[in-house]
Symmetry: C2
Subunit: 744 residues, 2 copies
């Protein structure tokens, strides 16, 4: 069946006057190149083997292999050997020396009104061989401060900024107290950070069964969700400010690098923090008195959620071994024959919190399968036009350590040479999810409509669209989704190794995964195991293959294109959308602040409040002025014209080789023009003017982040400044696309 | 303080050229009458005493006093004696003989996969003297069929029509099975009814802690919510089709009335049904296997909610004593001196499921306090212009038995004489909630802005507005609420004794209560007690006084008005709004059915479905034609003109007594013109063309119900028919308002 499909596709591709979509040329390829490329990609696909992906996952997740562990080094060496065996002869380990705290002391005791000592233990499961292995890091939050604190316990819901606003309205604060927050909604590291900024002396983060326990479905091992003893490990390094080794900000953590003092490191947390299971959280939450938590604060434990603080007191003692360890990045290259100085980079991390069958090995296995397939193609004579660079990162879990140090180490070369960076970080079952630089949206769409979904045989684009349609919650949303013919490429925040490439260096990046039908609670626990993976996630490794097809095609398309398939018209449209969002954000904030102030000033809050409960009238909100986006509009208009020109030029270049000189360089270097010289406010490491994670909100992206966060913070002076800085970058992009003359 | 307020108000009232709102005339009163009326109402207020309301609640809720009980009769006699003591000399008990099933057998056992027998017991509480009294009816659902059934258990969420649609998509049905539904969202009687219509053989209804247990707040006796053993009693008589004694449909259940056979009674349920606590539900729900319940189906028990049906089997055995009992309505009258044949009727029921401190005694206590105050006014020379009729109904809980039989008994006289019916049914703390005939919206607004809220001292109108503003969920909604200067008078569905007056006879009705700051789980349990009431509801009885002020003023205003203060312009505006809703309903349904069919026909559901789960493609939806509301629009336009004329006439009549003859009769008789001769489809007892409860959705109102339900059922022929029938009624209202010539 598959072979027949290949033949049909080749026939159709050859018949370029045919009626079918498949017969048109590939984006960025001449008609002749398109035929060759299709053949290449089919041959690539034929090399992919699901059983092999399964074996890779089993082998690489056989034992706990976190950064700095013996097994971590073994995994890196195994990967290196694989690359070499596959024919990637220019492969090596690049090593950095990074700080990495591991648990020394973890004590949590409820001291009042009753005594309870948290077990802080994940049990082994009879059905899951790896779950009870030695060498596991127990549940902890890396980069929490050492500390020994005792204080009143107070529940802060997810620990979001709005949760603290709510506490304020109830006349409560966390100053001098120990907060307990539930996992979810925001990135975990923001929970202790925001608590610390408000005066808390310690932070407990627990997994409520509402988020990924029995409320969601049957618990492990009967089902994929967290049982009462499971706890989520994870980093609380402030990657929203800067990822990577906190002692070598902006430079590579080589053996001899100059390091700052740990005490001076901006991204290390200032209070102790500990993650616990709901078994351990239940007695703590049950002990709270004070107001009943608002409805949206309540989880799925069989109790009335109270906020405290009052009678419940806890003792929290946490200490880490603050060791310097080696991070082993595996880097494999195949030099391009036509454009050796244009690099297409692909990566997935290899370190895991415990066994990490899903996170990261399932993605890494797809990457290795691609490398194997490309190796096989090499043996039959394939020579990439551009240089391929495959990377397996170490130390992603504690804070993108391996990738960030490598990028910082090779920043100049990458700035010059990197065409794109393609990331994965684990894989599941279901629907294609992708994020990235918006000029790559058409390429992703092309590929998504070519790759078949393994369960339904429609394209992964079609299946994603069907999913979005069926889950659309309003008539309007469904109508929009019916009309949408593009893959909905998200903008990228952070959360994996693309950040140093994308947001620090301005290298166009993409991040891919399949998800949506493999929900579970295994993330960062001792049951993210091969046994869990084959029972509840991509059991036949079909989506491992499908991911390799998507990422492999993306790589090969970028490596072989006559003209790089970057469509700046897509970026132009996306930018107009982002500005519309900002206008709406400002308008809504203006109206809601005005309404809120009217409610406050006319005494409506007092009148509505229940006199039997404590209620503090909210503070007046800032008046939001009319925001002036004219400079931004002008820059985007200029970009629109440049985009038309560069598109015409690309079309010509496909027909006439002489027109190609320098064009691809312009197309991939263009993203660099969007970097802010001084970076974003409060975080100079983040230089991209269009995309960043939320400084106060976590992994999720903020587009036009300088402007958006200034609006959210109500800093109108800063809004004006950021509009001008951003507009300048977009103007520069317009100039660069037209002339190739850059500021960088 | 209060006395000073009174004097100020009188001064202001006297000064009719003043600048203050208080100095304008009362609606329906001449300037001279307004001054007198204000004095009357102030004197009325002075008679109200909070401590007395507390004593009444304590006395009348001292023992269980359901329909047919010894204590029920004692309560009726106590009320009668009170009326007489208060000076209402024309007071009597009007007795009807009604069918009333009480529990004989209640057995519920889980037979597989493990054995568990439900306790079906509410414990007594040490702190609550009345909770353990003898004479309690245990938790049961009156009017469930006798039955002894065994079958597979299946969870149906709230048992709503859309819940069954969801089951169908999962390839599941309830045929031959016993359903377990949770209380909430819909009226309880619809749960077994809909289950029966789909082939279920039995129905269990349980109280999930999500709705009114620990999820909401602390449980009794620590807090007001249901503990694990509390269960909600209640009727499952099909009052959506017809309330009242099921053996005497449409006629009074007098001693000698001709009765139909129980087997022929349309409103008696056909399968056994039993309400249980979450203590008893937990083992049942835990035993279910099959698919995990969708997110919106999950409650707050510490389990993964599964749907079944499969391994779990239950045995349900229920039998009742189907006895005929006496219902004792207490009816007290004061004959009007000017318009003795114009009756202003006021009612609240007196029967309770157990002690009923909140439901119904807290409302009844306000009614009795009004009667006491009016009695005191009589003694100082007050003589009402119109006849006052005060009623304390029996048998409301099993299905509005007392009120319906009385209304059916006196239908002709009420049709001729009843100006309005003012209902209450328990009272709490918080915000004024009112529903009723829309031409009374301005009167309710007038009164709500005169009566002070006891906690904040702003008017109850202002406090309600503040509450609505603060709880508004969108900018748009808040803006609308800022702009709204009227009290938001709801349309009325059913759920209390106004139904026979309003929907059967077309008597303009109002229903009042205070609520919103007294939430609890005591409803229809053994802890709806005085102890619960004073701890968690209107603890100082301040809102009892406030309710008496609102209802008393409404009564006195209607009794004394020179011209009845009915504003048909309000009805006209409301009607236009209802039609807009219908247009939107049709348009939305047209678009969503078209979208749904496209999703089905293009295979989107199959593509989006998880192949590892069972999924049935939904059936195609009917195509919704363009709906023609032209006749309705014409009728409403005609009504608009009539309303202008009648308003002018009322304005003249206030200045010139000669103009008054017959005008008030037209104003209150007008509502009768809206009655459909043949009633609504499938339920001829419900005759009002503008308001009815939802036949398939419960207590909540459906406005323009004939048309709306035909649209919802997709019966386009019926839509046209109902548009014409409804338009005819509105045209007739227009004619009647202009000419006083009616069809009735």
């Amino acid at each position: 069946m598959k072979t027949q499909g290949v033949i049909l596709a080749l026939l159709l591709a050859a018949n370029s006057n045919g009626l079918f979509a498949q017969t048109t040329d590939l984006r960025g390829f001449s008609s002749k190149s398109s035929v060759l490329q299709r053949t290449l990609e089919e041959r690539f696909d034929q090399q992919l083997n699901a059983a092999n992906i399964g074996r890779t996952i089993k082998e690489l997740s056989a034992k706990p292999h976190h950064l700095g562990s013996e097994q971590g080094k073994i995994v890196a060496e195994t990967i290196l050997k694989r690359f070499k065996d596959y024919g990637w002869l220019d492969s090596k380990i690049e090593r950095y020396e990074v700080l990495f705290p591991t648990p020394k002391t973890r004590v949590l005791t409820l001291t009042e009104p009753i005594q309870f000592t948290a077990s802080l233990k994940e049990p082994a499961y009879a059905d899951d061989a790896s779950s009870g292995q030695s060498g596991q890091l127990p549940a902890y939050n890396a980069w929490g401060a050492d500390g020994d604190v005792t204080g009143e316990l107070i529940y802060v819901n997810f620990g979001l900024p709005e949760d603290y606003d709510r506490l304020e309205k109830l006349g409560l604060n966390v100053s001098g107290k120990i907060v307990i927050a539930r996992y979810g909604r925001s990135w975990r590291g923001l929970k202790p950070k925001l608590a610390y900024e408000r005066g808390a002396i310690g932070c407990i983060i627990y997994s409520d069964p509402k988020e990924d326990g029995y409320y969601k479905g049957d618990v492990y091992p009967a089902g994929p969700f967290k049982n009462e003893n499971a706890a989520q490990r994870g980093s609380v390094l402030d990657v929203m400010v800067q990822p990577g080794d906190p002692l070598t900000p902006g430079i590579a953590a080589t053996q001899t690098a100059e390091r700052i003092l740990k005490e001076d490191a901006q991204s290390i947390l200032k209070i102790p923090v500990l993650p616990i299971s709901y078994h351990d959280a239940l007695p703590l939450l049950s002990a709270l008195d004070g107001p009943v938590a608002p409805e949206s604060w309540r989880g799925a434990l069989p109790i009335t959620y109270h906020i405290g603080a009052g009678r419940a007191k806890v003792h929290l003692k946490v200490a880490s071994n603050w060791n310097r360890v080696s991070a082993y990045n595996v880097i494999a290259k195949i030099k391009g024959t036509v454009y050796p100085d244009q690099w297409v980079v692909r990566g997935n991390h290899h370190d895991a919190w415990v066994n990490g069958a899903a996170d990261p090995v399932s993605g890494l296995a797809a990457l290795l399968e691609e490398a194997k397939a490309i190796g096989a193609l090499l043996k039959t004579g394939y020579k990439p036009k551009r240089t391929l660079v495959y990377c397996a990162w170490d130390g992603e879990e504690p804070g993108l350590l391996g990738s960030t140090e490598w990028v910082e180490d090779h920043a100049d070369e990458l700035s010059r040479k990197a065409v794109a960076y393609i990331n994965t970080d684990g894989n599941g079952r279901g629907f294609l999810k992708a994020g990235g630089a918006q000029q790559l949206a058409s390429l992703v769409t092309d590929i998504a409509q070519e790759v078949p979904d393994p369960q339904t045989q429609v394209s992964v684009l079609e299946r994603r669209k069907s999913h979005d349609l069926v889950t659309g919650t309003t008539l309007k949303l469904k109508k929009e989704r019916f009309d949408l013919n593009k893959f909905p490429l998200d903008a990228l925040g952070t959360g994996s190794d693309y950040s140093p490439f994308f947001q620090h260096l301005g290298i166009p990046s993409l991040n891919f995964e399949f998800e949506g039908e493999d929900e579970g609670g295994e993330y960062h626990t001792n049951f993210d195991s091969y046994e869990d993976y084959v029972r509840f996630k991509d059991r036949n490794f079909d989506y491992g293959i499908t991911l390799a097809k998507v990422t492999g095609r993306t790589l090969l398309r970028l490596a072989e294109a006559d003209v790089l398939p970057f469509e700046y018209a897509d970026l132009h449209v996306a930018l107009k959308g982002y500005v519309q969002e900002l206008i709406k954000l400002g308008d809504d904030l203006r109206e809601s602040n005005a309404q809120e102030n009217r409610l406050i000033n006319e005494g409506k809050y007092q009148q509505a409040a229940d006199p039997l409960t404590v209620f503090y009238v909210p503070r007046n909100k800032p008046v939001v002025p009319e925001l002036d986006f004219a400079n931004l509009d002008k820059a985007i208009a200029a970009l629109g014209k440049s985009v038309e020109n560069v598109s015409l030029r690309a079309t010509k270049a496909l027909q006439d080789k002489k027109e190609r000189a320098g064009l691809s360089e312009i197309l991939y270097q263009a993203e660099r023009q969007l970097l802010l010289t001084a970076g974003l406010p409060q975080r100079p490491w983040y230089k991209h003017s269009l995309y960043a994670p939320g400084l106060h909100t976590g992994y999720s992206v903020k587009t036009l982040p300088g402007i958006r966060e200034a609006i959210e913070q109500g800093d109108w002076f800063e809004v004006t400044k950021q509009v001008d800085l951003t507009a300048e970058r977009i103007q520069q992009l317009a100039v660069f696309l037209a002339t190739g003359l850059g500021t960088k």
